[in-house]
């Protein structure tokens, strides 16, 4: 326990954090979605972002990648702006954010993870195909490469998204509710993959909705309700008191 703590202190003093967020505010039209967030994500951890609906969980990870306009503040990825560090980050959007009736197969979606490395003009080739196939096998969907994405189950679709992120071979994974509404096999597969990634020193940040499993799956938690409620190792900050603070409705009303 003490060792755990001192390790993080060392990080704070010397090393550069995978993600540093300084006084970040994001506003949608006139409504604040995130208010003055100040936060570091420690390397090699499985990090959960929790909070009630509309707390700005998805907005936080989108703001890291510059997918939403930042009103104030700054985000650094390994000490530099995100646009210089794209290759170190993989994004797993919410499954519901895309149209699964799109005419394509599982392998093709995974291959999209490599478009960033290909850059403009260069086309996917046999190498990207091979890499994509490997990643599909890692998530247990090797036999589904040619399957239309619309014919996959919800859990399989989610695993395709995870495979796409694996194909990017990043240092940081930003995942938006990858365990939401998936079957048991998918949850197990994804968690064992993430466990391995953490052992390799990767940082995984996940928006998570199921409070029951937070202390079981994660090392570190960020509790959010438009402003930062608490952040730190699970054992220290994932307390009833902080949960009450994060999930009380009053705070949201007062911000309005």
């Amino acid at each position: 326990m003490m060792e755990h703590k001192s390790e993080h202190r060392n990080l704070q003093e010397g090393k550069v954090y995978p993600i540093e967020i300084r006084n970040l505010s994001v506003t949608y039209r006139t409504e604040p979605a995130l208010w003055n967030i100040d936060l570091n994500f420690p390397e090699g951890n499985l990090i959960a972002i929790v909070g009630p609906n509309g707390a700005g969980k998805s907005t936080l990870i989108k703001a890291v990648m510059g997918l939403v306009p930042i009103t104030a503040g700054k985000v650094n990825v390994y000490g530099k702006s995100y646009s210089k560090q794209r290759s170190k980050v993989a994004y797993v959007p919410q499954r519901g954010s895309v149209d699964w009736d799109f005419p394509t197969d599982a392998l093709d979606v995974v291959e999209m993870g490599l478009y960033g490395k290909l850059g403009w003009l260069r086309r996917p080739n046999s190498q990207t195909r091979k890499k994509a196939r490997e990643c599909l096998e890692k998530v247990g969907l090797g036999d589904y490469a040619d399957r239309q994405i619309g014919q996959l189950s919800g859990g399989q679709q989610q695993r395709v998204f995870v495979a796409r992120a694996l194909a990017q071979d990043p240092q940081i994974y930003l995942m938006d509710e990858p365990l939401n509404g998936v079957d048991a096999i998918t949850e197990e597969t994804i968690l064992s993959i993430l466990e391995n990634l953490r052992k390799e020193g990767k940082t995984i940040v996940m928006v998570h909705h199921d409070l029951q499993t937070v202390d079981k799956y994660f090392d570190w938690v960020v509790m959010l309700n438009r402003s930062l409620v608490a952040t730190g190792p699970i054992k220290e900050v994932f307390t009833k008191e902080n949960l009450d603070k994060a999930y009380q409705e009053k705070q949201r009303v007062s911000i309005r």
Binding site: L67, F102, T104, V109
Partner: protein, 316 residues
């Protein structure tokens, strides 16, 4: 007898000078709008395409007012500028007000179209007979296509396809998962704007053949038909282009058989027939095979149920 007639019409493409250019122009439109229409459909912007084409109409009138010629290049330029403008107005309404996209599309579509009609009728009443040709852009008049028109259309279409082929991968990711594409560093917003611009060019090509009112069906229908058969984006684009091209040629051939039969509407009816056939008979999603599959499954299920109930309850 009938076969003989069909053969004669078909060879008309090679022998009849007018029909050749009509068919060629219609085919160019069908191929271009067929391929690009796939993106319109997949991005769920079908009505956006409709608004774009209607918005092009006042552009034709204004281009004529300023340039004073019926030179097709000038008119197409005016049409393109206004189609673009109509698109921007629609996006502007949805992003700055509480008006939703369907209402915004309705507003631009009808206002621009109304403005276009006012301009064209004004020009017709003041300028005498020489301006009479402008109203052909309402429903198109492929029969009036001449060699230079076809050449212009061909160049525009080739431009569209160059952009489409060069940015195919980028267009695909911007359409399927725009936020993810953006996270990879592709400026998906600019890519969407580029894609819209290319669709505007397709709309402009269509002004001559099917006109502003029917243009939208040249974008949507081939793509919808192709989707019934095809399960990859690339092949969907190719098949949709083929469907569009075929309907262009067949439509202009049919209309050439009868005096005064408009080419544009016939092309639209042809492509809609292709859609109807696709909806009925495509192996995976067609009504017919779905019906057969369901019936078969129902029979299997009832067989299984009856055999189970016999096993568990042998006395009955």
């Amino acid at each position: 007898m009938v076969l003989e007639e069909i053969v004669t019409i078909f060879f008309g493409i090679f022998t009849d000078y007018t029909l050749r250019y009509v068919a060629l122009g219609s085919a160019i439109l069908g191929i271009t709008s067929g391929a690009l229409g796939c993106f319109t459909v997949l991005r769920k912007q079908s009505l956006f395409g409709d608004a774009l084409s209607h918005a092009a109409l006042p552009g034709i009138g204004i281009a004529y007012l300023f340039a004073g010629t019926k030179d097709s290049l000038f008119l197409m330029l005016g049409a393109a500028v206004f189609a673009w403008f109509g698109g921007i107005v629609t996006l502007g309404i949805t992003s700055t007000t509480r008006i939703k996209q369907d209402a915004a599309l309705g507003i631009t579509l009808s206002v621009f179209f109304g403005l276009g009609i006012v301009l064209l009728t004004y020009l017709q009443s003041t300028g005498g007979a020489s301006q009479g040709g402008l109203d052909r852009f309402l429903f198109g008049q492929a029969a009036a296509l001449i060699e230079t028109d076809v050449l212009n259309l061909g160049i525009l279409a080739a431009g569209c396809f160059v952009v489409l082929i060069v940015f195919f991968k980028e267009f695909k990711i911007a359409t399927f998962d725009s936020a993810f594409g953006q996270s990879l560093g592709f400026p998906t917003r600019y890519l969407s704007a580029l894609l819209t611009s290319v669709i505007v060019v397709a709309v402009v090509i269509g002004l001559h053949t099917v006109g502003v009112v029917l243009m939208v069906s040249m974008l949507i229908t081939p793509a919808a038909a192709a989707r019934q058969w095809i399960s990859s984006l690339k092949n969907m684009l190719i098949l949709s282009a083929i469907f569009g091209g075929i309907s262009g040629v067949v439509g202009s051939m049919i209309s050439s058989t009868t005096e005064g039969m408009s080419t544009g509407p016939i092309i639209v009816i042809t492509i809609t027939t292709i859609l109807g056939i696709s909806l009925m008979f495509s192996p995976k999603q067609g009504y017919l095979f779905q019906y057969i599959r369901k019936k078969r499954q129902y029979q299997n299920n009832s067989k299984t149920i009856s055999s189970i109930s016999k096993e568990t309850n042998p006395r009955s």
